[in-house]
Symmetry: C2
């Protein structure tokens, strides 16, 4: 049985340094020792998210943080705009509908981002839109959206903007303060390389004001209460202590690498993967590719055969398609703790898989293209 | 600096076997390997909670699971009964009020349980009560409530009963099916000895029917959706993979010990601690003591002095009082992975602390009483 590794868009591999820290005896959360770790972790997230705004830690998956932002910023009947370009951005629509909001959905083909022009037109046609809920990198399609421009449009309209950056953090520019993002949401099992179970979000002054006027019942996800606890260096409920200890370590690793280097590494991994896939004559799904994951289009049925073979024979797990893309794509994850050697390993096993399955005649073109991309002058 | 250990009612010490399993490379959740672990973990929870009902895993703290049960079982304006005997049982009242319910609160002095007679009278006076939300063991006061009798009263009234057993599981009889409990809630960092960040709850057939008729907006905590995923061996959102892996291991440890032995061990630890505290001439807070934690009453200010000294000099962390009991009590935790030698260590250091602070003349009476309780014929 082959040694197994994850090349999935989430969960991503958790570095041994992080797992080692998380495996130490638990410390109690109402202690100075824990408060120091939590405080430094929040500072680390502010560094990562490029913001001076408060960053709230929530014990839940990323979906919980999405719901928390929406519940705390809206009242029933409020008009909001969502951008739907895949499974996870569609979740904004689902949550907004669950809470009885008036939803303006701007959609694009799965594989494309929404056009800022379409967003501008939708805002013009819907003057009551109070908040734009959008997705920076759509995990199900590997597409990057132009959040910076959407923010300008939203603010010009007098609306707030809430950004799901769960899959873009570490891999893309996320300039919370410079772009004026009101809420930015991140999650555990992605670029910050810890196991799932923790989410976090930033809150701008304008978002905080909005939260104080919001109008749904809420308790566990009450962000006004969480902000009050935050000011005391605390959380309203027992925090995910081990997750925070792990995040403290992973942020230290990212800081040691340097944020520009982290982003450049993700960009290089993504470019090299795309170059290799194209050299193999395969089709890329995303017209505006993000650096988190590279979806590769296969004929119906073949995607899952490739994925299964790569896992069973070579021990490397990549993701498949979801919802309307089920069975049609393979998603190669390169968000997180992946370096050139890891990607070369993945690509050589990927090519070997295609050769095993009779889908290519020889092995090496993908690796050659990948090497060329990493080492171009 | 002394070697540190937790004797807190939660988080409790995480056994090294559990930490070791949790520190292994992460597995992906959409795999047969993970589904097998999750399936066995759910079977283990059914064994622990004495039920054939579905057990849902939620990625949140215990408070999130409390809210989930309430949101999924009620409509705005519904009349519900809550029992308020301390900080955590009061949370039922807070959540119910946040959701606009008509709350009938049966209260008792912090240190006592509510009397089933008071519950019966409140139900008689309020024929519209649809659900009773109660707390089995109240962590803030160490009090055990008579859930079995309350269940009979609730059912006779035609109401469902939802039980917060977060602190009672492993330490007390929790007979979900035999008593007919509709929803039973458990949490990670308590008797099941894993780090905080996971909660779970059982759903009876009647509760499931109630959930299908409920009427609040909900998404992350949508238990009808979670039940559908459950039937596929799945969860609606990314689960706390490492937490489930840890819980799988801790349940295996509890099973190897045997459920009756686990409960008898907790009962013995609690009896021995109470005997020692009384031998030292100190006052116990709880009139109906639970086996999870033993709160000891001190004069104003002295409780925190004792707690700090025991931590700083001997490395053993116990909990203090909360809300109206702040500064007035010390809570010795013995829920989780604590055996006779652990309790003897705690008690000898506790006595030594009292001697250091001039509160007793000699050391040994507490340990003697504790030993006597463990070894009585």
């Amino acid at each position: 049985m082959a040694r197994r590794r994850l090349f999935t868009p989430g969960p991503t591999e958790v570095p041994w340094q992080v797992r080692e820290k998380m495996s130490r005896p638990l410390i109690h959360h109402r202690t100075d020792e824990y408060r120091k770790i939590q405080g430094e972790t929040i500072e680390g997230l502010q560094w990562l998210m490029r913001t001076k705004n408060p960053v709230l830690l929530l014990t839940c998956s990323g979906t919980g943080a999405m719901e928390a932002s929406l519940v705390n910023l809206t009242r029933p009947g409020d008009q909001v705009l969502v951008t739907v370009v895949g499974k996870f951005s569609n979740r904004w629509k689902e949550i907004a509908e669950a809470y009885g909001l008036d939803v303006v959905a701007v959609e694009a083909r799965w594989g494309d981002p929404v056009s800022p022009r379409d967003v501008a037109a939708a805002l013009d046609a819907n003057p009551d839109v109070k908040i734009v809920f959008t997705t920076h990198a759509e995990t199900s399609t590997g597409v990057l959206q132009d959040v910076k421009t959407m923010t300008q449009l939203a603010h010009k309209h007098g609306a707030l903007i809430v950004v799901d950056a769960i899959t873009s953090l570490c891999a893309e520019e996320v300039e919370t303060d410079a772009w004026g993002l009101d809420v930015v949401i991140g999650g555990a099992q992605k670029g910050v390389m810890i196991p799932p179970g923790l989410a976090f979000l930033t809150v701008s002054d304008a978002a905080r004001e909005g939260m104080e006027r919001a109008g749904h019942p809420v308790y566990y996800f009450d962000l006004v209460r969480a902000l009050k606890s935050y000011e005391q260096g605390d959380t309203p409920w027992t925090p995910g202590i081990a997750s925070v200890v792990g995040l403290h370590e992973s942020l230290a690793m990212l800081k040691a690498e340097g944020l520009e280097n982290v982003k450049a590494r993700h960009a290089a991994n993504a470019r090299a993967t795309r170059a290799a896939v194209q050299a193999l004559g395969l089709e890329l799904l995303a017209s505006a590719p993000a650096n988190c994951t590279t979806p590769v289009v296969f004929g119906e049925g073949r995607a899952d055969t490739v994925r299964k073979h790569l896992n069973d024979v070579y021990g490397l797990r990549v993701a498949g398609g979801q919802a309307q893309l089920k069975g049609k794509i393979v998603r190669i994850g390169h968000l997180g703790h992946y370096f050139e050697a890891d990607m070369l390993m993945l690509m050589s096993a990927f090519e070997s898989t295609l050769k095993d399955l009779g889908m290519v005649d020889s092995v090496g073109r993908g690796v050659e293209a990948m090497f060329g991309e990493y080492h171009q002058k």
